[in-house]
Subunit: 250 residues, 2 copies
């Protein structure tokens, strides 16, 4: 089929696994973008034509996406998207419930909310003495009744203590801080890692041990520049995509 | 030991695995930040005191970090950081070699560089007709002679074709585009996912199958707004941390 040949990179023989990865990457992004409105992927033959590749490469690509838990394949029905991904913007500092309010209700299962003495590394990030207590929050965050992330939050005592009397189950910490302190939040520094979930985290997030998760550290400051909120967040990789814009010159 | 008790969140019994995760998260971030200049972690007893926790929780935390390939523990020597992570900023649109030039030399193993007919989804992102060929590049990017990422790049033909005559092994695509086209790059849209590496990607990146990797889609535009460069990038999670700033009001 000359049609197929002309669509491969010219003059290059490529192993099937490389072609399969190329197909899987495009489909993964389409799934993340919600491109398949019906929730059904096109038929295998359509994908073979669309990617101008072989049926085996398409099957391998679908196997990769199935192993990631994004799709299920049902005989006689077709290939269905099962894991809708939510988008979280890196454009603006905002809480999870604020960001996802159009996509569902965020509920926080508050596992710990209490004062504690911070580890020295945490105290240093918050710019406080290690013997000064902080308020520690540990919340399992659910969207549509399913776990989305596990957040460990260390708050400067004057900012965190008033939150212990608030409704942490239904409100973002960001909104509560601004409300109880009367101060606006300013900026946050973010560090994002991709890690494999350890056994216990996997159990809490209801994913397989070893599943890919985002490990995010976020240090949030008041508008005056004072750091008050250090969070270590583990986010299910199969449920969230992070979106951002980059500019060449700034 | 009252010292230890007072440092746990008050009035809360917590399973050892939760305390271990808390310790692991702080240490992981310190490793990513290069906090252990000597490459050695403090002695177990020091960590027990620092985190005011039990020796078993510290050991579990170190097991988690070891399973992630970040540290090795040697009897009689101690705990050593083995996987230094590189930082890549989300502050500005820049190529890998540009960003990491202070940390080492980026070399690109060019696996494919040729014209091809794009999949319809790729053509749509680039705003071109699906029967218009693009230039496809597939590069394994090495930093310090070890794989860092696998980049699949689709370039509009007029932008990509001149690059085929350039030294893709030693130069970022961004720099080459600006040089050969005479146009400045403008902004890019970024979507970041955390996924488990499939078998073949793992082999190419020299990691275990299933290891957590970033899957990044980046659509880059010329300063005039025209989209010209769509990249699907798989980055080793154990070698890179993404850094960004967020602002509450913009």
């Amino acid at each position: 089929m000359p049609e197929n040949r002309s669509s491969r990179p010219e003059g290059t023989w490529r192993p099937r696994s490389d072609r399969a990865r190329q197909v899987a990457d495009v489909l993964r992004q389409q799934i993340a973008d919600g491109a398949f409105g019906s929730g059904m992927l096109p038929d295998e033959r359509v994908l073979v034509a669309e990617f101008a590749t072989t049926r085996n490469a398409v099957r391998d690509a679908l196997d990769v996406l199935r192993a990631e838990g994004l799709i299920v394949r049902r005989r006689g029905v077709g290939t269905q998207v099962v894991a809708r991904k939510y988008g979280h913007g890196l454009h603006r500092l905002s809480g999870l419930a604020e960001t996802l309010h159009e996509q569902g209700t965020v509920v926080n299962d508050v596992r710990v909310a209490a004062p504690m003495r911070p580890p020295a590394a945490v105290a240093a990030r918050l710019g406080i003495d290690p013997y000064t207590p902080v308020v520690y929050l540990e919340r399992l965050r659910l969207l549509g009744d399913r776990p989305l992330s596990l957040d460990m939050t260390y708050l400067a005592a004057d900012i965190g203590t008033p939150l212990l009397a608030e409704d942490l189950r239904h409100h973002d910490v960001f909104a509560l801080i601004e409300q109880t302190s009367g101060s606006r939040l300013g900026a946050a520094e973010l560090a994002i890692q991709a890690v494999n979930a350890d056994a216990r985290t996997a159990e809490v997030l209801e994913i397989d041990e070893g599943a890919a998760v985002f490990a995010v550290e976020r240090l949030t400051r008041l508008a005056c520049g004072r750091p008050v909120d250090l969070e270590m967040i583990r986010i299910r990789g199969d449920r969230l995509t992070l979106h951002g814009d980059l500019h060449r010159s700034r």
